[in-house]
Symmetry: D2
Subunit: 304 residues, 4 copies
């Protein structure tokens, strides 16, 4: 059976949860998951430890912000899908909500971008085959040809789009066209080693997930393992995040780390790091596919 999922954010005030859950209940829905979060950092002034967080620094609102994810079983629900949207719009207006509505039987259409390191691509495709990632993958795009055979093995359309500084803008326009035709809702950069243009990022705002092979904000940019090796850190990490206009600075979805020592060569860091990358990226993709991520400002709420 299909479920409906609402993702909501709005200024906090009394009655939001009651109103939303009543909406589901009055129409005979059975809630299977509900989680809410209230961000109070807009109110931060001075903690007991003397730390000051000005409301104006990245948190424009003065009051609290309310976030909610609610999922209910559509069996015997009195409203059809079009009407859910219409009826809920009235509630949303009343509370000034930003909201998204999803149905679990409509799978997210996902494109994977990759360059020459194929471990994350393999990992995603194997998880998809094993049923861990509930999505459709109509397309793999690469600036190189290395992934062509893998795409073929898994029966997925492969498109090679070579990128140079000169042709990038034109090539991305082609990609955007293809991605729109394929009705793609999520783009996964599974070690895609090209910086996307501002135009591309804005076209798919909060719909592009990247894996960066360090615990951001440390070691942003190129060659993070080499940076880590040179700095002599005792942990390495990986970070999955939404792509924003500033490089490696978008909202973080998931991070993980592994301990290393002086015994580990740069090659060891790369190999251990690849395991982190696979896990951290696949977890972020899974959270997106389950509509469990809300972004606000440069942060994420994860309804796990």
């Amino acid at each position: 059976m299909s479920h409906a999922i609402l993702l909501i954010s709005c200024p906090d005030r009394k009655g939001i949860t009651a109103t939303v859950t009543n909406f589901v209940y009055q129409n005979n829905g059975n809630i299977v998951h509900a989680d809410q979060h209230i961000d109070t950092s807009g109110n931060y002034s001075k903690t007991s430890r003397g730390v000051i967080l000005s409301a104006s620094e990245g948190h424009p609102q003065v009051g609290n912000t309310f976030f909610m994810r609610i999922e209910w079983d559509l069996k015997n629900f009195r409203l059809n899908r079009a009407k859910i949207r219409g009826h809920f719009a009235k509630i949303a207006r009343k509370f000034g909500m930003t909201w998204e509505l999803y149905f679990t039987d409509q799978k997210v259409r996902t494109a994977i971008f990759v360059s020459r390191h194929l471990h994350c691509l393999y990992d995603l495709l194997l998880r998809h085959r094993q049923g861990q990632l509930s999505c459709e993958i109509p397309l793999i795009i690469s600036n190189h040809s290395d992934a062509k055979a893998v795409a073929s093995d898994f029966g997925i359309k492969f498109m090679q789009v070579p990128i140079t500084p000169l042709n990038k803008s034109a090539q991305e326009k082609k990609e955007i066209k293809v991605l729109k035709q394929a009705m793609v809702d999520l783009i996964v950069l599974a070690r895609y080693h090209q910086v996307l243009t501002r135009a591309f990022v804005q076209t798919f705002s909060n719909k592009i997930i990247n894996i960066h092979h360090s615990f951001l904000p440390a070691f942003a940019g190129k060659n993070p393992y080499l940076q880590a090796f040179k700095r002599g850190v005792k942990i390495i990490g990986a970070t999955s995040h939404f792509v924003s206009e500033e490089l490696d600075a978008g909202p973080i979805i998931e991070q993980d780390v592994a301990h290393i020592s002086h015994r580990n060569s740069l090659e060891d860091l790369v190999q251990q790091g690849e395991d982190l990358e696979k896990m951290v990226l696949s977890r972020a993709v899974k959270l997106f596919l389950q509509h469990k991520i809300l972004t606000y400002g440069n942060k994420t709420v994860i309804f796990d």
Copy 2:
């Protein structure tokens, strides 16, 4: 300002969340935290991987179970504390709820039991002094005298109650009397090396938190570090759990582990393990003090 907290569990059905949140809203309460969980394991029959979980094995109910924690600000709330209890009782009856009501300005009165290893006791007292543990600690009880000076340093009443196999039952009766007089709601066994009698455990059902120095169910019973050392495991752990009648088998609240190697001596295991014990026990105590733990069967729901 004070908050009210409701902890609820009942058979799942439509309308529970809506009814509870409406109760708060209609009486002009502002929800600051709400989390729910639906346990469906009573329904488990056969997963896609062929694992079978019979409904009769430890999960007597056939349907789903609903759990909720809701916390709201009492400022301008229309019902006083006595009336909250009365009004909510009607809702609870309707849904067959097991429920508890707390107010954040009524601090949990906590007694600490300890034997001769004092690291967890020190840790709890320092956290309490730093404001991390919001409780009152009227009493420290020990079967030895080692902790007497520590109790005195922190200005807490100390009671030495020597235990022998012969006097245990009588001594525990004395302890129960003292604990009741001190209106103790939580007993923390901070490395208390005596098995409590069934009578004692039943008197404080789900109100006694123990720290066991292994990742249970491995290495239950005596000398877990020695057991771990002999078995040659590569991780050690600590487990905080409610004390039930069966030794080291009660509902688990929190666990953590650390990696070890052949280089580590038994002494190293003990020292690293003590760090785990302190963190795992203090986290469990904190969750209890915040009324974030619900037990069902032999498991816990942690509303973090």
Copy 3:
């Protein structure tokens, strides 16, 4: 260039390290890795904390035990391979050493056994293809046919050997014959769901690595994820170990864990656990291939 590796264990006494390193130096070898470990647990009597470890419990020796791994570059080494063996045998006799000699250009021949869960098999084969596992894989054996296509994709010989209680002994004899013909030095049970006979285990003593999907010794035997789910643990784990005659009780090579919560279904445990299995098994295999594991009694020394 090729390296030589010596793995040594013997009763501890003065001069072992000096003698072994001199052997390499006098013959013009350049040591690239040397690590030693002295196990003193045979001496354990009573630690400062009152823990008693009797020398007779699992540690038959009364004195200390010495372990060493030494690896040197064979470039310009004065002894050829046959002579290394002959010359070192004299040193070994003098100190009563148990020893093994390897050369890094002689790759370990590895057979993989698998049943119906293929994630560990895929993981090993992909790592092998990417150059992370320096071995030859002449053979995949299964009691089912599921892995046949995977073996074919990777160009590895596949052998299906159905096992029933009645035919097990006879079938294993066939397997042993094939494994010996293929000169297999390592058998990896990558989720092979058959208990091997004592005869089979003895034939490949300390050469069979299994992955068990729990943090042993917790949840040995069948359905560990289901056992963990029912017990309500807050961490799950995976353990790679040498197979010994007692089920899931052999020397542990590597373990890792992941945190879970009440929100996680049994399916979630299985999926998260599979990631642990892949990492823990591949690390153990890699350590074996690099000749970094020494077993003693029921424990391992890992020269990482």
Copy 4:
């Protein structure tokens, strides 16, 4: 019984290990611990994955570097302490070694600097009292008076040295004088919130251990928890490192992290972080006291 410990680093060449272990053996010493490490990053040019590490970037040497820690029992050793130094100096000259010699019965004299957050101070003092830190603590220095009572409880001399931008240089000169009089070999900055002058740092080069409350190099400088909170990271960390002239940029000794979520307030980050700080700092101090740390360039070799 007392042990001797040698910490050695030099350009790698044949025969170093043999020569050093022979020195111990010929003089009738029993080696209880020996570990070596060869850093080959000076040779790095291009890995199989296309990562380039120029020898000139932070690794001035072109060849490999050899590191060793060797510890032996002095019982029946033929050389007295003065002679050990003299005899070994000849070996050291031959191989161009940088070396340090320690004896385990000469405890490191340790001064603790602290400002107003006392959790790390308490932690170190309790571990010291429990016998986990084998050192002498003659002195606690603070720019505030908060730690005075703690110092008094533990019977340690307390010195308050208020620091202003104007008096810093003069006050540090006073401190240096006192520290030298007290024969201090290690200074632990247990949350000391003053940047030390270049002169002070140079006086105690590689003898000052700081705890920074982030996973460096992320969030160097002020208010790392607030920086982490604003960035929306999913992990927080702590780093212990030697203090060098550049702020928060010295050789890293130990790091650890904890997972956080959007549910965690800034206060939560601070509280969880303090647990990390305590563990990471105490581990670094312990490694120093056991003479297990070697620095080279801006990195450390940890002989654990």
